[in-house]
Amino acid sequence: MKNLHWRQLAVTLGACGLGLSAATQAMADVSTKISGYGTLGLTSIDEKGLEYRSSFSQAKGATRKPDFGVDSRLGLQGTTTVTPEFSATLQLLGQRRRVDDAVDSNNDMDINFEWAYAQYAPTSNLSFRLGRVVLPAFMISDSRNVGYAQPWLRAPLEVYGGMPLTSVDGAQAIWRIPVGPAIFTVQPSFGRSSYSISFGDVVLATRARNVKSLNLAGEYNDWLVRFGVVEGTSPLSAPILGFLDPSLTALPPVDFRMKDRFTSLGLQYDNGTALFMTEVARRRQNKLPSTGPALYSAALGGVPAALYDQYFADKPLAATTSYYFGGGWHFGSWLPMLVYGHSKDDLGLAKPTHSVSGSLRYDWANGVALKGQITQVYARDGTSFVYPDAATSNRRVNVYSVAVDFVF
């Protein structure tokens, strides 16, 4: 699905629609619903030499010249219901996301099936899915791309920017347990997933195997409490030293299985007038071997081995604790909101970073919202910037964005 363009997306979608409607005509009780969502966003920053992005999977960002790619996306979804118990869902999503790791690749536009699953729902409270399913890593990660469903223009990157997995190829169950007026949800998922992360010129495209996720939620009236764990194992045969310093990418690769675990707890209150959201997320990994690959010392005169000992031996590649909290107030069709996000490197290799955002949503027409957002973030933030500025570590950058969100 690489190298597709919007026109091809339209053609593919048209074909899907035709296929679905042909299937619909074949069976009297079969019904198909097609719906879609999208965001057209324009983003720029007020500093030279930096590129602001909205996720780790973007290898290109917004500069002082306004950029359409960072926040724009288009999703199309079709659900065919065969019987009340059996249904199939397809979701096609186009967005800026690098999925290959070629150094000189210019392939930043990705159109892919975000979901493609068959569902069996024996009761209204229980369903099983097989195929490519949503991975609910954090509180709103299942709907992060649906701008119209979000109060802000861009979710806080401290928590949401670092998670490259959005779906898994595997199986999922959703079990709703009503207890009086409260509803508890248990959602386990298993499978594998491919993803990419980019650090400057280094793009790592890999697969996470053995992805296991458990999402627990409790909803009562205007309250939502949510806890989640996601675990996955990625083979890291890429030159891992490059993560620390891109000039070291020429070194031989380390063969290592990285076990990654994200744990998060979130709380949301929305009574229709007041809105409050907060979430804390922790990332933990297994440790690298205590001795570096023999190749390092033998082939390169010992220096890289020393580097390995200094930066990687007996340490995980990443360990972070991040959180955000934000609040807003509905004034008729207007929703102003303030959000503070914070991220700390628990390995102590980088200084903590934080950001402050002010956003405004205006519900302009049925299914159309206009948004603006200003975010102030440190230039050293490696999630927000493709090439973070580690040298002048207290430099702050303003990010200006406007967007139109729509659903149909």
Partner: protein
């Protein structure tokens, strides 16, 4: 003179009464429907629960907007945002939309799992009122 004043007051009362009646909505199910609480009803119309099949009036209908405002304290756009999240996370489909009280009554009378809301004055023996919204 006194009689005219009384007539005026009476007419005024009728008007007030009329507008109150117009705003009253009956949440209806089939003949075997049991009373339902406000919280559980809100769960059905905000996509948290699918134990019953919620039926809606068309978007833009003043009665629909009134129903959601009273039940959930949310404007039409906020309700649409809530449903966008439900639909595009695969949790469920938005309520079936039917054009008027007649079609809603017909739908709930034949499906014991269906639930809808109609003007209270349109209630008849084919349906059971399970909740009332002023």
């Amino acid at each position: 003179m006194k009689k005219t004043l009384m007539q005026g007051l009476f007419a005024c009362g009728l008007l007030l009464g009329a507008s109150a009646v117009q705003a009253q909505l009956a949440v209806v199910m089939g003949p075997n429907g049991a009373p339902i609480s406000k919280d559980i009803l809100a769960n059905l119309y905000l996509g948290r629960s699918f134990e019953f099949k919620a039926i809606d009036l068309p978007e833009g209908s003043p009665m629909r907007d009134h129903f959601y405002k009273k039940l959930t304290d949310r404007d039409p756009a906020q309700v649409k945002a809530v449903w966008a999240r439900v639909v595009f996370t695969g949790k469920g489909q938005a309520p079936l939309m039917l054009p008027d009280a007649e079609s809603i009554k017909k739908a709930v009378a034949t499906d014991p799992k269906a639930i809808g809301y109609i003007d209270k004055s349109a209630v008849d023996s084919s349906v059971k009122v399970v909740f009332t919204i002023d």
